[in-house]
Amino acid sequence: MKKVININFQGQVIAIEEDAYEILKQYIESLQDYFSHEEGGDEIVNDIESRIAELFGNRLKHGISCITDEDVEAIIESIGRPRDFDVDYEETRTAEPDASFNDHKARAGSTGSQAHSAEEPRRLYRNSGDQTIGGVCSGIAHYLKIDPVWVRIIFVLLFGLLFWVYIILWIVLKSRHLESNVTKRFYRNPGDRVLGGVCGGLAAYFKIDSWIPRVLFLLPLILNLIGMVSIFPLSRIFDHFDFNWNINGSMAVVYLVLWIIIPEAKTVKQKLEMMGEEEYIRSIREKVNDNAPGTKNRTNSNQPLHDTPPAPPAGTSYSAKTSSNAFSRAPEQSGCLNGLVVLLKIIFFTLVGIFALVLLSVFVGFLFTGTQLWPLKSLFIDSGYETHLLIISSCLLILVPVVSITAWIIRRLMKAKSRPVIGIIAAVLWIGGLATTGLLATRIVNKYNVESSSETTVNVAPVTATKMYVEMLPYHDDYSEFKVIYSRRSPFDNLPYCTINEDSLLYSNINLQVRNSTDSLFHVRAIAASRGRNLRSAKDDIMQFSYPILQNDSVLFLPEFLTVPIEQGFRNQSITVEISVPAGKSVEISDALSDYKNSEPPAVVRKRIRNFSRTYMPGDSNLTPKPQITLTTDTI
């Protein structure tokens, strides 16, 4: 009984026995390995795959229900195994038996019988041959001729910053199978692993014993455990250190991240890159002596599947070849761990996907609030230079990505060739947009650099009555609201209104403070406060405030709004009216002003008011005539 599976092979659905599929898969891997040194090697493999698909199609047409392993073997026989290909590698192999594994470039140059350029121009690609997500990092690493793992680590550390850069590069860069151009690389070591082989890889890279990184990873946990056993006499030493679960957790995260970003050394070449030549051959000798048990030869072929072109030095070639079989198969045996890796990757990508969605919604949210905030622009942004800056940066930041992503999608749909130049221009423009936005943001933030205040004493005619009444003088004309688009309880609560002829702004940011008078008279002070780029500009703004307080006998009229010229915009302008009440007299504040009574004046004003009372208890103006109803207990 044999299990038949359906595979999508080169766009064709093929029914194939599982065994046959395994053989096919390994054969194609061996081809990939073999041609990976050839310029356009993946294209060759792809062409061969197409051919295989066609041959499958022919076979299936002749009425058989599925592809069996005999079919696959026959096709492989007709196409040939890597060792049968006699295009060239043989001659160079025999010609340079001492060639080390890392000069494929030179080899490719010497074998190329035709006049193809030996050294192609250095360009930035995405590397389809070594990718965690999109191959961007390893493409960059290839360009810089460094280990992709470093680039990936930088990317992970600066994830928030580089996310969009990554997306843009993903879109912009063409994908290509790139030959590794560093001789020593980080790999996870499948031959020396407990969990994912990360520590084994680290050990191989730094040429140390693998228990060292393992202990380092587990050190916080160990110390924690020691700390938990309180009987242990040394535990006190560790009391000073805060080895909590956070560190254990973060070590686990570090491990997971490394697990994901460090590729596993699968082929002989990768193992050579991982541990260096001599080291590798030594480890192979050990392996051969052990003669890895349980190596099941699935294909009944007797040559190694990973028939790697870069031959190890002549003397050791036999041992390397025979054991590559045993060695490279090792990961396949531990299906459980592989499943774990797959699971972790799924979780990782789900998280990344969620994160990307959040970023996208934030982006869209910004877009919406942007249009909502547009009417308020004049409050924060001067006309002229800053307005131009705003228009330029919003165009660059929003339109450029939208247009280029749309264009990219359309090109993808039309299957037109991608034009990286456009993408690069878009990326440059977008980064330019970031720069202008930063400039604008600093300019805006600078407007709130300092807070200034100035006080004026309002001349009050002596009030003979024992009670002073404070009333609101309503604004006499219509005014339009900036607030209309927000809920009442928004952080923009003290935004102004605009006068009907749009020459002034009306602020309701008025605070009313009541305190004891030092003499027997009522005193009224108005303290104006504003923020500005510097003290001078803040003071200049304050000079233009208009807040006429009127008195009619024992009634004090406070205007409903503070009026400032519209050019000032929003600088958190405020007026604090301080009424000093003499002993034995009281003040009654109209209900219309109740909004003003409890509000807190800005910090700069609080400093000016002695005995500032944060909470003002409004007494019931009609019912309970207390001697000093306006004072709270803490205002002495």
Binding site: Q10, E39, S50, R51, E54, F56, G57, G80, V87, H116
Partner: protein, 122 residues
């Protein structure tokens, strides 16, 4: 010195010439080329042919176009570029020289051999 190696070297030398001449007659996809080579009694593995075509293509000797196929994925049909035509003509003249030269040299061998055998028989 093993004989297989020398044989494969000999075959390799003329392989490109044969392939180019097939393509020159009529644009062809790799399956055609394999069939025609087999028809002419020359064994050729796909695994050998594909990288060779790829290399010729990269060198600008060949160009290809996609043709939809009823029996599978689209096929690459190869044809000679002007550069390839030039390349082919150079190979052709070399081959003609080689063939006539080799023929001239080996004919003597054959004749002596033949006469020798005849003498033996007689």
């Amino acid at each position: 010195m093993n004989v297989e190696n020398t044989q494969s070297q000999m075959r390799k030398g003329v392989l490109e010439y044969c392939i180019l001449s097939i393509i020159r007659k009529k644009e062809a996809y790799p399956g055609d080329i394999i069939d025609k080579m087999k028809g002419a009694g020359l064994q050729l593995l796909e695994g050998t042919l594909y990288p060779l075509l790829n290399r010729l293509k990269n060198a600008g000797v060949l160009s290809y176009r996609w043709v939809e196929s009823t029996s599978g994925p689209p096929r690459k049909y190869f044809q000679l570029t002007p550069k390839g035509e030039e390349f082919y003509l150079l190979l052709q003249s070399t081959w003609n020289e080689l063939a006539s030269g080799v023929e001239a040299l080996t004919r003597d061998q054959h004749e002596t051999n033949d006469t020798g055998e005849i003498v033996d028989d007689a």
